[in-house]
Amino acid sequence: MATVIVEKGAAARPPSPLSALLLGKRAERMVLGAAFLVALFALWELVAALGLEPPIVLPSPAAVAVALGSVFSSPDLVANFVASGQELLYGLVLAVAVGVIAGMAIGWYPRLGYFFDPFVNFLYAVPRVALGPLLIVWLGIGLSSKVALVFLTAVFPVLVNTSSGIRSLDSHLVRVARCFGANDLKIFRTIALPGSVPFILGGLRLAVGQALIGVFVAELLGAQHGLGAMIQNAGEQFQTDLVFAGLLIFAAVGMLLTSLVRWLERRFDAWRV
């Protein structure tokens, strides 16, 4: 019976006519992925055009496009982007630096792991954006509290992934290296470090998404400028089209950064089967 199922499974995967028509799997994936988005936009436009909901609840895509244009032509544009960009960049760079170094130390020295693991797990379990009010009390309402919040949201995926990458090093490779007389430093440099690169990049990809959440929440808690603050203000004034425009910008930045990390992952993963 089992073999029949296997055979069926194998036979059920002929090249689909669509993929044969459109130059292979990749094209098929992109077409199908785009199709859903196009359908969603069409439905959105339809609902908006029929006037089932007032624009204040659901602005039409066209109105959102206009709002998007107004964001890019507004005098606050530079200030908003600079503010959010700074928070994101500083927080993310700090998170990667601390996450990678601390993750390596915790992964490499088991005792350090025993020492810090409960603390890390505790912080990992707390919804880190909930630390926002505390950070404002400690660091004030300026840039530093926002960077700190972005850092806290982004550091844990990097740290946890890095340490598990270091920990998962192949014990057989270590034995081979020891056999040749390698010391710990050499084993770290030639086995643990290159072996954990895919883990670190995976953590970075998660961190980007978390950092964007951090930026948004930090600006919700009080900010003059920034995309999050812009969305917050627009929402308070029922400029729903502007809210949508802000969301689209957030999404675009997130997708751009994520695909950047994915590109890096592919580059460093060439040796994987």
């Binding site: 192949d170 490779l173 020891r178 056999c179 040796w271």
Partner: protein, 283 residues
């Protein structure tokens, strides 16, 4: 606590044994005398892996160790490699007790153990880098000549996952030979490659050992393999492993056609007989 005591290297405390070794058997290259290895088992008891192993290996000799699985032959090899302390007896290389891995010994494991992110050339230089003997262009040069030796010159820039199991094992061998070991320790290196590749690799290994003048200690459970390769076959009993028989193999080298000789079969029968006896616990 008892396990810890058992694992303490015994040679250094055993001065009398040591002097007798240097005066009496100093000429022997690798020498094991009454070597016993025991370690703490999972249930808290003591597992006796090997017991009273007496074995001498001359420089340039090819010695195979065969025995039923779990008989402690790999344990013995690990002790020679310096991974595992012996519990009692003496284990010496050129008259000096073995206490840790050393640059004059190289081990070839059953798993190739190649770094997946390095190409073939980078994997062959790995041992040289780890031992701190050579790096950079010089190491690459040495690696290239070894790839030539194992017939992989055209694959220097392939990655391990692009190679067959047999080719990976050749890389493994080249990596071990790159450090120019005196003593090559092989732990069933050809057990997971197909039969045809295995025979080719065996012929090549013999030729390479001859040319590089290395001493080899080769652990296997394949009797034919042992007879084909060895100058001497040591048959281990079931655990705790003891040497129940030593068979000197007088087949002429090169041995590419040796399997067809009637003498070959006679040796195989002799070793199999000893092994059978050992497995049944009669010897």
């Amino acid at each position: 606590m008892p396990a810890r005591l058992m694992n303490a290297p015994a040679q250094s405390s055993d001065e009398g044994e040591r002097t007798s070794l240097i005066s009496g058997d100093g000429s022997r290259y690798l020498h094991a005398r009454k070597v016993t290895i025991a370690y703490a088992g999972r249930d808290g008891g003591v597992v006796q892996a090997i017991e009273g192993i007496d074995l001498s290996v001359e420089r340039g000799e090819f010695v195979c160790v065969v025995g039923p699985s779990g008989c402690g032959k790999t344990t013995f090899l690990n002790a020679v490699a310096g991974f595992l302390p012996i519990s009692s007896g003496a284990l010496t290389l050129r008259g000096r007790p073995i206490q840790r891995p050393g640059p004059e010994r190289a081990m070839v494991f059953q798993q190739p153990g190649l770094l997946p992110w390095r190409d073939v050339l980078g994997n062959v230089t790995f041992g040289l880098e780890m031992s701190g003997r050579m790096r950079g262009r010089k190491a690459a040069e040495r690696a290239r000549s070894l790839l030539e030796l194992v017939g992989l010159a055209d694959f220097a820039h392939s990655y391990p996952h692009q190679l067959s199991g047999g080719m990976q094992q050749r890389v493994n061998l080249a990596r071990a030979l790159a450090v120019e070991p005196e003593l090559l320790l092989l732990d069933e290196p050809f057990a997971s490659v197909d039969a045809q590749t295995r025979e080719t690799l065996q012929i090549e290994l013999l030729a390479i050992c001859e040319r590089a003048k290395v001493t080899a200690l080769f652990v296997t459970h394949d009797i034919g393999e042992a007879v084909f390769l060895a100058d001497r076959v040591c048959v281990f009993s079931r655990r705790p492993g003891r040497i129940v028989r030593e068979v000197r193999i007088h087949l002429p080298k090169p041995r590419a056609q040796a399997r067809l000789e009637s003498e070959f079969l006679a040796y195989v029968r002799e070793v199999a007989g000893a092994l059978g006896g050992a497995a049944n616990g009669r010897e």
